[in-house]
């Protein structure tokens, strides 16, 4: 990415997603900005409930019925044309052409995310038959190639197998095959390794990195595990309570975190080689009630740097630190302002 400045393939601008519940409206995603560059892996990290899944599901328009896109854009740039996915009707032909065709998605539970009553072959062929217009025999051939591509053994047998006959890692490979069957431009991976053991997780991460290179696709990779992010992501967006609080290259986020929440998160994970700590650091305070979000910066009740009135009353805007970095924090804004004034 050095020097050149290509257009992002996916650009999410000021996205707001609201859930209408009996008890009130939950602003699950409240002004998210994200961009995914061609050929990169964007890691999205954050505690559970921070809105990671909801954010990426809007790219596919796979939100639950009670959810609605209240504001914002989800731009998909492909071959010089730009589509605002947020404006497409959920069940429209255009939206369905993107799903599984241009954008693939894999999920957390490889056991339950595959249909229990259809063979792997059938499930990999479904998107091919839907999007490519290939004949059944050609689709079968393509499905076998795809199974081979995700390094599954004994392809012929695999085509006829049912998910419950496979191990967790093999199921996740089959899941990846269904998502990549049509060679999409973008792969959305919502915690695809969380349910796997560590060895299998490492294998799946390696596979995804190789596939990214082979197919030249971009990946949005969601996880709550910083170790996984360090392994796979080129850039990272950190989410808290429906907001992206900081985005930067993986190195910047790890070695020079600017947002107090990112710092707190990194402090809470034990590191090899760090000085011995009596116990794990945890972030003080509780995640606020989603119906009554705090005024001002949503992190202020738990933030050690939130000392003045500004943090408690005013929602921080986006501060651009440099070309690759941004954060939503009054303290960061002040620091950047002094830096740019100083010689």
């Amino acid at each position: 990415m050095a020097g050149e400045n290509p257009k992002p393939i996916i650009e999410i601008e000021n996205l707001k997603v609201h859930f209408k519940m009996r008890e009130g409206v939950v602003k699950a995603v409240d002004g998210v900005n994200l961009s995914l560059m061609p050929g990169e892996v964007l890691g999205v990290v954050g505690e559970s409930g921070s809105g990671k899944s909801v954010t990426v599901r809007t790219i596919m328009q796979l939100l639950p019925k009670i959810a609605s896109i209240a504001d914002g854009k989800v731009l998909f740039n492909d071959n010089g044309t730009t589509t605002d996915i947020a404006k497409l009707a959920k069940n429209s032909r255009d939206m369905r052409a993107l799903r599984g065709g241009k954008i693939g998605m894999i999920f957390q539970e490889p056991m339950t995310a595959l249909s229990p009553v259809h063979t792997i072959g059938h499930q990999v062929m479904t998107p091919i038959l839907l999007h490519t217009g290939l004949s059944k025999r050609e689709a079968e051939q393509r499905a076998k190639e795809t199974l081979d591509m995700v390094r599954l053994p004994r392809i012929e047998e695999m085509m006829r197998s049912y998910p419950h006959q496979l191990s967790g890692g093999m199921r996740q490979r089959a899941m990846i095959a269904t998502a990549l069957a049509c060679r999409p431009k973008v792969l959305i991976a919502d915690e695809p390794t969380t349910a796997l053991d560590v060895t299998t997780e490492a294998q799946i991460l390696d596979l995804l990195k190789e596939l990214k290179r082979e197919l030249g696709m971009s990946i949005v990779f969601i996880t709550h595990n910083f170790g996984v992010v360090a392994d796979i992501a080129d850039r990272v967006s950190v989410m808290y309570l429906g907001n992206v609080v900081e985005t930067g290259t993986t190195e910047d986020i790890f070695y020079d975190p600017r947002h107090p929440y990112t710092r707190a998160l990194l402090n809470s994970i034990p590191r090899l080689g760090a000085e011995k700590q009596p116990r794990l650091n945890t972030i003080p305070g509780m995640i606020p009630d989603p119906y009554r979000l705090p005024a001002g910066c949503v992190f202020n009740p738990r933030c050690s740097a939130a000392t003045d009135q500004l943090c408690r009353t005013t929602y921080p805007g986006i501060t651009r630190i440099n070309d690759h970095r941004m954060a939503r924090c009054h303290r960061v804004a002040e620091a950047v302002a002094t830096e740019s004034i100083a010689p």
Binding site: L98, R99, M105, A113, P116, T126, P127, L130
Partner: protein, 328 residues
């Protein structure tokens, strides 16, 4: 798959034997026996019954032989000749009495079962896919009323409607003048005119319950992650629903086909009595009331055999529909 089916069939053989023993035990159950009952019957009718008649009858019917011999001869006649013995109440062979009725019962029941599914499955699936919509509430209310309303009452009401509005004579399956006529187009039309009431009564009350179960199963399935996966591949909502969750949600029904058969044969008793249908239900009732043991025994045997056969059929259908069962 083949070995699974053979396994199921092998399992059925001892079950069928147990059912036949149980049915035979029912025949033997009442105090005294057929012979003494017959003599007592003759006496109450004022006949002069010579000494030794009882023994003669007993010998004639083989009732003085050991129990297991009687069982073997009873079963032997059934298996070899389809001869279920003689009904005391009707004084004619049991097989004359039941096969016609059994055929009618099975046809009516299957027709109403199919009608039930045809009504209930699309409605249940729709109600789940559009939960809390107007039609969902509408069908929920329909379901409650249908469940709470006794079948025989809806049968009576429908008959009254048909009679007073359309001037139809609706008891039974045929008009009196058609009852003994040979089969002809007119007779078939006559049958169809009479058949819709029992079909509607049986199907609508069955559908009312089924809709609720289909809806609940579908709501479970629609929340499963594989539905989202299928959507993420670009399928339309309805093709996802029909291809994936419906198949899984219907499994519980496939496993109840086995129970449906005998329930259909015995369960429509009251409705059949009210509608005056020549099905097996009323006959079984009469047989049990009058201690007509060969008739009751034949029924119990047939019901048991149907349960076992039905269970095998549903096991096999289930294995075809859900691969997880085949490999267990």
């Amino acid at each position: 798959m083949i070995s699974y089916i053979l396994n199921r069939i092998a399992w059925a053989v001892p079950m069928l034997f147990l059912v036949s023993v149980a049915s035979f035990a029912v025949i033997q159950l009442p105090p005294g026996d057929f012979a003494s009952a017959m003599v007592a019957e003759m006496r109450t009718q004022g006949d002069v019954v010579p000494e030794g008649t009882e023994e003669r009858i007993r010998h004639e019917y083989g009732l003085d032989r050991p129990i297991y011999e009687q069982y073997v001869s009873w079963m032997g006649k059934i298996v070899l000749h389809g001869d279920f013995g003689t009904s005391l109440g009707f004084n004619q062979p049991v097989s004359n009495l039941i096969w016609d009725r059994l055929f009618l019962t099975v046809s009516i029941s299957l027709a109403s079962l199919i009608l039930t599914w045809v009504i209930a499955i699309p409605i249940g699936v729709y109600a789940a896919a559009r939960q809390y919509s107007f039609l969902d509430y509408f069908f929920t209310i329909f379901g409650f009323i249908g469940r709470g309303f006794p079948e025989f009452l809806s049968a009576l009401i429908l008959m009254w409607f048909a009679y007073s509005w359309f001037g139809m004579n609706v008891g039974g399956l045929f008009s009196p003048e058609m009852q003994n006529a040979p089969w002809s187009l007119a007779k078939v039309i006559d049958l169809a005119n009479h058949l819709w009431i029992p079909l509607l009564v049986l199907a609508s009350s069955g559908a009312a319950g089924l809709i609720r179960i289909v809806r609940a199963n579908m709501l479970d399935e629609l929340n499963k992650p594989y539905v989202e996966t299928a959507l993420s591949q670009g399928l339309t909502e309805w093709s996802v629903i029909w291809r994936y969750p419906v198949r899984v949600a219907l499994n519980p029904f496939i496993s109840t086909i086995g129970w449906a058969l005998p329930a259909l044969i015995s369960g429509d008793v009251i409705t059949s009595v009210v509608l005056n249908l020549p099905t097996t239900g009323p006959l079984l009732l009469k047989a049990l009331q009058s201690q007509d043991m060969y008739l009751s025994g034949a029924f119990i045997l047939i019901l048991g055999a149907f349960t076992i056969i039905g269970t095998i059929v549903s096991d096999i259908l289930l294995a075809i529909s859900d691969p997880r069962i085949r490999y267990r």
